[in-house]
Every structure is written in structure tokens, then in C-alpha cells.
Amino acid sequence: MSVAELEAREVALEAPTGGLGREALYRLTHNPGALVGMIILGLIVLLAIFAPLIAPYSPTEQNLDALQGGCCPGPSAEHWFGLDELGRDELSRIAYGARYSLLIGIVSVTVGFVLGSILGAIAGFVGGGVDSLIMRIVDIWLAIPGFLMAIGIVALLGPGLNQIMIAIGIINVPIFARLLRGSVLGQRENDFVLAARSVGVRKRAILASHILPNAMSPVIVTATLALATAIIDAAGLGFLGLGPQDPATPEWGTMLTNTVRFLQTAPHLAIIPGLAIVITAISINLIGDGLREALDPKMQSR
């Protein structure tokens, strides 16, 4: 057998038996990078969910007296992350901000994933003219740089939280469409699909129970990585002032908007939200990479 087959066999011997899902889970949880990512993301999710309990102060309550000595007091015993330019507690704002970032990320990726998958599945399964038409539209869609398109969409819809979720969702649609179409096309050629046809399984059932479950793996990985990008994009849109318009909103990107002029005197105002965004994105990426390895079809036992 070829070296590649030997290596596949070798990997196959490493995983436990049982359903494929269990194997993938095993691989994922034994991947050090993914494990680190999951712990960090887990903490951030907990932070977001229990923000009211964790945040020591209100994220919107201003304390202008504390700014007597000029802007802005850095990290101290009472305020672990310091205060922002309006005297609000950074730590509390970061904690509540986690909710916004995660919410925007999850909702927008879900929108992109669902719409894109529907388009991609139709294109891949139906084929022919329908496929060509959908893919040409997707090609044009992909040709426009995502972030710029998002700005354009928000410009059209007006700024705001819901609008940036829609915008980021829309820019994700073609990515998933293309990906799922390719995946479906690949699965369509498999013998077990032919076997299902020869048994008489209806087309819809073939798509639902045979093709899609096997086509999902690369899409799940991309969804995870898209989540990280979505959070960054959301922060970017927030930084440009296109996000939630209420200036009190503790969205991480919006928190960065006014910090530029304080970079010399109060760098913590820029660094801390920036770090929050980066750490969240990295942890998601680590999980995504781990997922890709865990779900790699080459690694499935034979």
C-alpha cells in the first residue's frame, strides 16, 4: 500500500471506536490548542452570561469626579481595568461588551450560514442552469471586499446593532454558499449516494440524510472561523461609529472609537478592548483549527 495509506491506517489506529462523532470529539479534546481555545472561550462566554454578577459596577454609570486629575485613571485596586473617558468602569464595560460581541458574531454567522447553505445545497444538488446562475451571483458577491460591503450595507440601512448583524450576515452568505456547494458536489459522487438511489430513496431524503450530514464537516469549521472574523468585523464597524448608536453601549469596537487621542496618556483605554477582541478571536481560531483536524475525512478510521 502507498505511504499515504499507511499513514491513514496509522492515524486510524489512534482513535477509539464508536460513532464518528465520538471519534471526532476525542480528537478535538485531545488537541492541546483546541483545548486552550475552548477554555478561554468558555471563560469569555461565562463572563458574558454572568456579566451582571461579575461586573463590580454599572457599565454606564459615569463617575466624572474620578477624572479630576485628568484622563484617565489606569488599573487600580478598585477598578481593575481603570476608568474610561467618562469615568465608567472599564472592567464592567468589558464584561457587558462580551455579550454584544458574542451576540453579533453568533447571529451574523448563523444568518450567513443558513442562507448560504440553502443556496449552496440547491446549487450543488440541482446542478445545471440553476447551479450556474447561483454561482455567478455568488462570484460577484465574493468579488466585493467583505468589510467594505458591510459598510455599504450599513450606510444603506442606517447604523445600529441589528443593522451590523444583518450586514455581516450578508457578507458571509457567499462564503458558505460556495463551500457547501463544493461539499455537496463531492458527496454526490459517493457510492453510498448511488446505493441510496438504487434502493429508491427519494431525492429530498438523499439530500437530507445522506449528503448533507457528510457535507457539513468543512462548513462547521468555516463557521467557527467565520465567527472570529465576524467579531472583528463587528468591532471594526463599531469603531467607525456604525454600530449601536447609544454612546453608552459597551460594545468593544465602539469603546475604541474615542480612545485614539488618549493613546499617550491612557493607553489602557485602547489596549484593553483591543486585547479582548484579539483574545476572543484567537481562542475561536484555535477551536476552529482543532475542529478541522478532528473532522478531516482523511483521518476517519478505515
Binding site: G18, L20, G128, R136, D191, L194, R197, S198, N214
Partner: protein
Amino acid sequence: MAESAGDGALVTVENVRVWFPIKSGIFLDRHIGDIKAVDDVSLEIERGETLGLVGESGCGKSTLGRAILRLYEPTAGRVLFDGQDITHLGESELRPLRRRMQMIFQDPFASLNPRHSVGRIVSEPLRVHRVASRRESGGRVRELLEVVGLPADAAGRYPHEFSGGQRQRIGLARALALNPDFIVCDEPVSALDVSIQAQIVNLLESLQRDFELTYLFIAHDLAVVRHISDRIAVMYLGKIVEVSPAEELYENPLHPYTISLLSAVPIPDPEVERERETILLVGDLPSPANPPPACRFHTRCPFVQETRCRDVEPGLRKLEGGHWVACHWAEDIKAGAIQPHEVEAVFETQAAPAVSEPPV
């Protein structure tokens, strides 16, 4: 036209063509040619027999098998199953017929959905045809697993936990679920280890006896085909070049391609190997998108003659009882009047053109 069998034939193939369009284009795909995978093939499969279908890659045997099962729609010609014309039936009309004709596949790893349990795979035919629900099918699944030689607890496990030979057995259990009359076996043992092949071949034979099955056995391994088949059809580039009773094929091959093919098959016996006269075919198989005109084999035929071979396409004609051949000079070759000679090698150097979807 292969021998007529009156009303005994379970499957009749009449002048079937299966052509795959080649499309190319920047914006819209244009039809620029066809891969003539199966080109004007006719044959009959009798009830209860095993018809072997042999040929090398690209000869169209798998495509023909799938066309017979209507997994592809023939571009031309007719396919009759038990007297009924199924060539252009829609999916819903075909569905009840699918209970009677099934297929087993070559790749034991790709033919089973890796995410479904064995029980689910084997019971799927039962559910699709409303014979039993998932809960009720447990007993039948156990029965089927036993028939193919697998333990009953296999139902709860997943395909990747089984070896290649065992996975082929699972595929067989699935094919038998609805008590079909006819099974197309598409290279069922080619991907298996030698010591396992014999187990599966024996299993196929005993199942045929026990369940009165008719087989179309597609393979490239001539020795296996010869062992299991009653009759053998040899295909080359989309056409049938010879049909013969199995025992006769080795002693009495009539078509030059069959003769060359047989002489190329290695035999596990050093003395026989040493004394054999091998006729080595030169060059590569021509592309099915552009097959040679007239006799398709004339570019590589060691017996090619000046007249007829390059001008007129030889039809399949009956030479002796049950033995048909598509060659202008078959009688002379058999009598020894024509000897094999050197042929200039023609190599294919173009990559296969991009093919679009098969006609479903």
C-alpha cells in the same frame, strides 16, 4: 443482437447508448462533444443466470450496469426489465421496480454512509418501500446479517468498525433486504484481499442458489468472472466484442481483444507462465470521447487486416452455438489463417476532457 431467449430473459438491453456530454465554456457551458461510454450495446440476461461483463477501465461496463438499473438514463436504446420498458420511466414509476433490482458496489469504504449505523443502512430499503418501520425492521435486519455471515450485534455499529470484506457483506445484506430478482455486482471483490475474495465469491454463489437470484457480474479480473459466470460478455471502448459461454472463453476466444486480454492475465503457476505465448497489446486505450472509426480495436489489433477493419464496423454476429463475436476475420483467426503481427504503438497524451454530470 445477442441470442434471443424468448420470454426467459429477465433483462433485455437493446441498442443502448450512454453518452456523457463534454461541456466547456467561460460563462455558459457549451456542448462540445461526448464521451461515448456505452455505444450501441445489446444483450439479454436470462432468469437465474450469471452474466459476466469484463473489460478494462474505460470500456463502459460499470456505466452499462448502472444504465440497466436506471441510475443513468440511456441516451438512446431501450432497457427492458421482465418485459417492461423502463428506459424513460420517472423516479416514482421506477420506485416499485427498484425492489426487484439492486446493486452492490466495488468500494467497500465508499458504498456505506459512514454516519449511519449498519442497522440503519440495511433497513433503509425496508423503510423506503414502507415494508417496515425502523422499529419493526430489527428482526429482518438480524435475519439479513445472519444470511451474509455477520453477527447480529453488527446492527448497532458503524461501517468504519468493520473490515473491507465485512463491509461488502453489509452491502450485500442491504441489497437482499427486499428480496430482489436481479443484482448488478459492480466489481464486488476487486478491492478485497485475495483470501477474502474467495469468501465473498462463495457467498454470492450460495445466495444465488438460495434466493434464485440473477446476477450481472461486472469485473476486470477474468479469472474471478470465469469462475462465477455462466456466460461472459467482453467489452471494449463502449462496445461488446464477444459473448461466450464461460467455459469456452479460455479455450476458444474468438475476438483479438479477448485473445490478447486472456494472454495478459497472469496465472499463478511458473511453468504455465513460462510456456505461454503472450500477445502484448501496445499503446494505450483510445479515449472514449474519440474512439477509432469502424472497428474500435483496429488501432491496437495484432490481427488487423488491410480491408474492412478500418472501414466497416463489425456487428456482433453468431459464430457458433451461444458464441457471438464482433470481428470481420474471426473465422480466419480461429483457423490460424491469420497470424498476429507487430503493431505501431499509439499513446494517448491528452488528459481526459472535463466531463459534466452523467445523464441522470
